[in-house]
Symmetry: C2
Subunit: 217 residues, 2 copies
Amino acid sequence: MHEKFTVGLIRVLTTDDPDLLNAHGRFIESRFPSLHVENLCIPDHPQGIHSPELARQAVPRILETARRFHAPDMLIVSCSDDPGLDELRAEFPHIPVTGGGEATAAVALRYGSRIGLLGITDYAPKAYLRLVPDRIVAVGRPEGVHTTRDLMTPQGRASTIAMALKLKEQGADVIALACTGMNTIGIAGELEDVIGLPVVDPVLAEGLFAYYEAVRR
Amino acid sequence: MHEKFTVGLIRVLTTDDPDLLNAHGRFIESRFPSLHVENLCIPDHPQGIHSPELARQAVPRILETARRFHAPDMLIVSCSDDPGLDELRAEFPHIPVTGGGEATAAVALRYGSRIGLLGITDYAPKAYLRLVPDRIVAVGRPEGVHTTRDLMTPQGRASTIAMALKLKEQGADVIALACTGMNTIGIAGELEDVIGLPVVDPVLAEGLFAYYEAVRR
């Protein structure tokens, strides 16, 4: 039993490494100490989600994983593609559900009106197309990065910084990190220092809306 | 000296009543105990802001008022019309600035895509036109309510509830409270219970983005 508002956080990257599994939850608890986060990952996605096909395949696994939490106050799918949100809302109508895509898109709108998406795909995740379609000025995938694991290398980090600069050149006034793996490598602050624009971290945005749910009533 | 992240909150309703002056700041501190809020009101606006002309007149007074805070970490103009945000950002480029309009519009986008605006004007405040122009399905002013003070009567409250129901009938899937006086009368929770839609309180949204600023780096 937890007295704290408890978030069930679903990782879409399959891992046995507890540090990696719990990375997003630990980050949220560090910024929002009044929240408690339980972390689970879906099976059979060792490379995470980086295509519409992988997102589609993940949905039933996300639902199964969500059922394993014990009475959470909220569910977060910690992925910028927001896979399974509609299905989770249908199955758990009485608890709030969000994901790294819609949370980040909403926060980004407070900071700018020309959003540059920095992720691991060449397309904008669906939340951005639903929420802010006419605010996206550019979508950038760092060179050599195709999956969330590619971000975890020195080359992946360098090429992420280079792509952020390019998005700024293309007219972005805010950068939305469109892969939650960008949080895992903790790059948002460094990007802000280098490019001089606000950079929205998707896991921070997820935590922000969890906090909002915890205090809104 | 405060160790806490300190928000300078500007009320655009002129009042000598400390309870009314501090209402929004107290609310933010109750939901975000890690924040400290200092409250000041602008002079010469006893009826608040409920027209473009009043908003225009308020801008120099908002700037004067902002200068009276002692080294705040952030400034909030606690008004859904966001008067003076551009001017404050120009004068205080190194601290974050937000207002009740843009903060609420951003939060509302996380909860729905057909936003009903419930405020005290017959037009949408400018933040909504800038951030979510194609997401506004209806703008409603409660019958008999023309200024923020009109909300503070039993009739004002009843007519606010009636207008929220009407916005739902008009197709809204989320209600954005487009006057911070709606927070002063504490009506968001009651509206959610009555109409069964998420209702975004502008002062809670202001606090959320202040918290975000406090923890983002």
